[in-house]
Amino acid sequence: MSDTPSAQTARTAAEPLTAEAVQQWLLEKVAHKLGVAPAEVDPEQYFDEFDLDSTEALVLSGELEDWLGFELETTALWYHPTIAQLALYIAEKQAEHAA
């Protein structure tokens, strides 16, 4: 199936969802789409400044939700427009739900 996560990206429910883990996943995904090393992706850069068109940005958003196992508000990338900000927001949101 094309939507089966790869071993590299699969996340288990028991795995703690930290901002660092989300940021690392995003860095690797964006790097893969851009064809560069993750170290070359700036987590403080705005999503719309990467060389990804709006279709690619939405694909990334859908794949992130699939990895997280829950839906994000579609406005999440709007209000948290960098990898670092979005990772922090997702970790905080998850912690609130778990509390």
Binding site: M1, S2, D53, S54, L58, V59, G62, D66, T74, Y79
Partner: protein, 299 residues
């Protein structure tokens, strides 16, 4: 809150930078495709004719409504008023000019024309496969389902990603909606066709494509809700409707516009609803319909 940063201008100029602008075409663009698509139309216009695009996606209330499951906090009249203010502030509402609107942009353009006084009004309004916001054409919320939207989505995705007309399925003989109400089986077909044709980047997954589709569907529903809440009045100017070979609707009726104007003519272009903004012969016909007549030289 999102940090403050400069947003792109709502009105963007294309075209004849080489000489004085003696006439202009003003466009209302509803998003979906990038406003940069109009560069080809600008090149197809006669020398001296400028092209300026009002990009509604740069209006936050409109843009956000497509991100928020179709929850709408604006109206067509408010969008038209905003467009008029932006154009007036730039001194662009002076003759000779014609107004052009593609898709939902034609609906906002029609409302805009109705807001302008005599000295500011365009010569005509050219509608590119726009559906009039009148009974019989505004859909119920339930009617905008996957069977209607998915073939349109395939047209959209192929045009946006530079694919040919056969890159993605044009129809889904078994229906686009599965027994669970979701279109995943049909989207799987789109995914494979998109990967095979190069419309989708290698490695794109079904969850990723599903998000693109869901956002597209939210945009359709947003525009339909805006149209449903709108009470259009005849704008009192000539209307020209151009329909592509494969438009959104196959009806021979001029998409409801005969209700809103006595002076309505219809023409045709190659291409589909989205590719008509890129296809060379379609651009030639659109330019011919939209270019204002030259002003006679004094004396």
């Amino acid at each position: 809150m999102r940090p403050e940063r400069p947003r792109p201008e709502i009105v963007r100029a294309f075209g004849d930078g080489g000489g004085p602008e003696t006439a202009r075409v003003l466009v209302v663009h509803p998003g979906a495709l990038p406003a940069a698509h109009y560069a080809g139309l600008a090149r197809s216009l006669p020398a001296g004719t400028g092209l300026h695009v009002v990009d509604l996606e740069q209006v936050p209330e409109y843009f956000r409504a497509a991100l928020d499951s179709g929850r709408v906090t604006t109206s067509i009249d408010r969008l038209a008023t905003r467009a008029a203010e932006e154009l007036r502030a730039r001194g662009l509402l002076s003759r000779p000019w014609n107004l052009l609107g593609w898709s939902f942009g034609g609906v906002v353009g029609h409302a805009l024309a109705g807001l302008l006084d005599g000295g500011e009004r365009p010569g005509r309004l050219v509608l590119l496969d726009s559906i009039a916001p009148v009974p019989g054409y505004v859909q119920s919320e339930e009617a905008i389902g996957h069977d209607m939207a998915l073939p349109w989505f395939c047209m959209y995705l192929a045009a946006k990603r530079g694919g040919g007309p056969d890159a993605l399925p044009a129809e889904f003989p078994d229906g686009a909606e599965g027994p669970d109400g979701r279109p995943d089986a049909a989207l799987e077909l789109v995914l494979h066709a998109g990967l095979d044709s190069g419309v989708l980047r290698p490695g794109t997954t079904l969850p990723g494509l599903r998000k693109v589709y869901d956002t597209y569907l939210d945009g359709l529903r947003r525009n339909n809700r805006l149209a449903a809440g709108h009470r259009p009045r005849p704008a009192g100017l000539p209307l020209v409707l151009l329909r592509p070979e494969r438009g959104l609707l196959a009806t021979p009726d001029p998409l409801g516009w005969s209700v809103l104007g006595d002076d309505l003519s219809t023409g045709h272009t190659p291409g589909d609803h989205y590719s008509m903004l890129r296809e060379p012969e379609a651009l030639r016909r659109i330019a011919a319909a939209a270019a204002p007549e030259p002003v006679p030289a004094p004396g």
